[in-house]
């Protein structure tokens, strides 16, 4: 891959649990050119935009992890979290199908309004309302 490229592909296998992998290959230490300790030329792979089912996963992207294959031992952390790959190795991102529902659930997980007890309370009153509608109407809600 050279310069900025867009890749679009369809996955036919719709299993629930999936890993999206992006791999950097064929980078060697010669690709990193130093001048007075500073990097003046390098090879890297930057994920500019990633869409799953047409959803821009700009925030979820940081759930991706890479275990870089460094040029030298102890060159960096074992696992990196970034939208850039500076070393060989696979960057992996877990997701589930249907992706849109999975992502919506992911973003809503930290909200206080989604606490299980609030959901339970809401569901209890929804049932009560439906029962009342059905009791007092010829036309049944369901």
């Amino acid at each position: 891959m050279r310069e900025q490229q867009s890749i679009r592909f369809t996955v036919d296998h719709l299993s629930t649990r999936n890993i999206l992998s992006i791999e950097m290959t064929d980078k060697s230490s010669k690709d990193t050119v130093l001048d007075d300790g500073k990097i003046v030329k390098d090879k890297k792979l930057k994920i500019v935009k990633l869409l799953l089912d047409d959803v821009d996963i700009k925030n979820y992207i940081y759930q991706g992890r890479q275990k870089p294959i460094y040029h030298h031992k102890n060159q960096g952390p074992k696992t990196t979290i970034s939208d850039q790959l500076f070393f060989n190795g696979r960057w992996k991102l877990y997701y589930e199908n249907p992706a849109r529902l999975f992502l919506a659930k992911y973003h809503g997980r930290g909200q206080k309004i989604n606490l299980p007890e609030k959901q339970d309370t809401k569901n209890r009153y929804v049932k009560q309302v439906i029962a009342s509608i059905n009791l007092h109407n010829d036309k049944q809600y369901r």
């Binding site: 959803v55 821009d56 996963i57 919506a104 659930k105 909200q111 206080k112 809401k122 009153y125 009342s132």
Partner: protein, 497 residues
């Protein structure tokens, strides 16, 4: 102990996300004039006392505003005790004046109960009420228990009341709208403990700020323009100065605008977001701000509109979306279309600006097809929930028609009220004859199920359904002819098309 000049309290029901602004706003202004003022947020004391299983029904008790609604005796005793505690707190600061902030119709029941309790006590305080819930048609209910009332903005009227100028226009009447908001003293939230609020901001302190009053639009379902006939605003310089001062003196970087809409005056708005963006760039302050916001047509916006909105720290803006149907939006006089919203939210998504949708179900002209268009909106915009741009939606408790809203006076009438206990809720459309309370309730349930299915977070749905269940209980009783209010089972059908 020195007497306090005035104590203000907010009372239920108001949502529990942030402290009620009015007492703090009034306190700030009166203190700037040299008065000693204290504030209490009694609304949040409901959440503190009933947190857990009882909170939904305790909230509904105040919200329903109807004494005939049946609640458990245990709950009623606890509520009674709570109001005794409020009275003790108010009198404990030895005030010359007690001001009760009646935020909306939902606070009237609490106000009546508090006034009854105050009347039973020995004290020499003057009691007055104010707020958007104070309207002519309700005043007679409480007139013998109060000394004064103020309709409209309270700062100058309260200042004059405390000075003894009881002839000031607005004391026992409607005040003239304040034109220069920048001349008012800054709000003071110092008496509030900010921890119990159900804020979106985890572990962060949020300060409220007012940039404008009134609205640039005149939506048929909203009574804002009857309270503030003109749209008035503060200069962007004074807003930025208040934010900067709060940040530098208290380290607080999260702000919430109390405005009916933040982006009402585009020139002032652009100047504000540019100033805040620069402040963020220069100080790495990470200022965030939120509040109510209107969708605007793209053609009216400058090319920097979205990028500056983002960089200034916009967070979780509450968008008045209301409906997915253009014909409903047109009748509401929203001034925008579904297509405008599509473009607006796409720009939010591209620029990392987060928001939530405010939806209003069961508008009188909402046909089945219109309702389905709102459901389509949830489907079509689910991808923005998935991307993290939309934080959720409030589906509300369906359309209520209060006397003060423009819709109530539009001719020809698009609704007829029935004779159930609360005809603000109990009405039937003249445009869509099948659209009555039960149909609106059914649509609310369907919308909830669609949102749950699509993983749209629905804000306050637990409390809303608690309230809806109680309303339905009363309505069903009336419909069965059990209550004495059953004069006519159905509305006058002669007006139905």
């Amino acid at each position: 102990m020195k007497r306090t000049d005035c104590v203000f309290c907010s009372i239920p029901f108001i949502e529990y996300y942030l402290p009620a602004a009015a007492p703090a706003v009034l306190k700030g202004h009166l203190q700037s004039k040299g008065f000693v003022v204290k504030t209490f947020d009694f609304n949040i004391s409901v959440k503190e006392k009933f947190e857990g299983d009882e909170l939904v029904m305790a909230s509904a008790y105040f919200q329903l505003n109807r004494p005939k609604s049946k609640f458990h005796d245990k709950l009623l005793i606890k509520i009674d005790n709570l109001i005794d505690e409020w009275v003790e707190k108010l009198l404990s600061v030895k005030p010359r004046f007690i001001g009760i902030s009646v935020f909306s119709n939902d606070s009237r029941r609490a106000c009546e109960m508090l006034l009854d309790k105050l009347k039973e006590k020995q004290h020499d305080c003057k009691v007055f009420i104010g707020g958007m819930g104070v309207q002519e048609e309700w005043l007679d209910t409480v007139r013998d228990k109060i000394d004064y009332y103020i309709m409209g903005e309270g700062e100058l009227a309260c200042e004059n009341l405390l000075k003894g100028n009881t002839e000031f226009k607005g004391i026992n009447g409607r005040v003239d709208q304040i034109k220069d908001l920048s001349s008012l003293g800054p709000a003071d939230y110092g008496d509030y403990d900010l921890t119990p609020y159900e804020t979106f901001y985890q572990d962060r302190k949020v300060v409220q700020i007012t940039g404008s009053r009134g609205c640039v639009r005149n939506c048929t379902f909203c009574d804002i323009n009857s309270h503030w006939p003109s749209f008035t605003w503060r200069s962007s310089e004074s807003l930025i100065e208040e934010i900067r001062r709060t940040y530098e003196t208290h380290g607080i970087s999260d702000f919430f605008f109390t405005d009916s809409l933040i982006n009402g005056n585009l020139k002032v708005y652009m100047s504000m977001v540019e100033g805040l963006a620069n402040f963020n760039y220069e100080n790495k302050a990470n200022i965030t701000w939120g509040g109510q916001y209107i969708v605007r047509k793209n053609k009216n916006l400058s090319k920097d509109y979205f990028s500056l909105t983002r960089d200034s720290g916009a967070y979780n803006l509450a968008l008045g979306v209301e409906s997915g149907s253009n014909s409903v939006l047109e009748h509401m006089r929203k001034g925008v279309t579904r297509e405008d919203l599509d473009e607006f939210i796409e720009n939010f998504d591209r620029h990392d600006i987060t928001c939530m949708y405010l939806i209003l179900l069961g508008y009188p002209t909402e046909t089945d097809a219109d309702f389905k268009k709102t459901l389509d909106l949830f489907h079509d915009h689910q991808k923005y929930v998935a991307s993290g741009t939309i934080h959720g939606t409030t589906l509300n408790t369906t359309m209520a028609i209060y006397d003060g809203v423009p819709l109530a006076n539009i001719e020809p009438k698009v609704f007829v009220r029935d004779k159930s206990e609360d005809s603000s809720w109990g009405w039937t459309s003249t445009i869509v004859p099948t659209l009555d309370w039960e149909e609106r309730l059914r649509r609310r349930v369907v919308a909830q199920e669609v949102c749950d299915m699509l993983k749209w977070p629905t804000i306050s749905a637990d409390r809303e359904f608690g309230q809806l269940a109680k309303k339905q209980e009363n309505y069903a009783l009336w419909k069965k002819g059990i209550t004495s209010t059953n004069i006519d089972l159905q509305p006058d059908v002669s007006q139905l098309s």
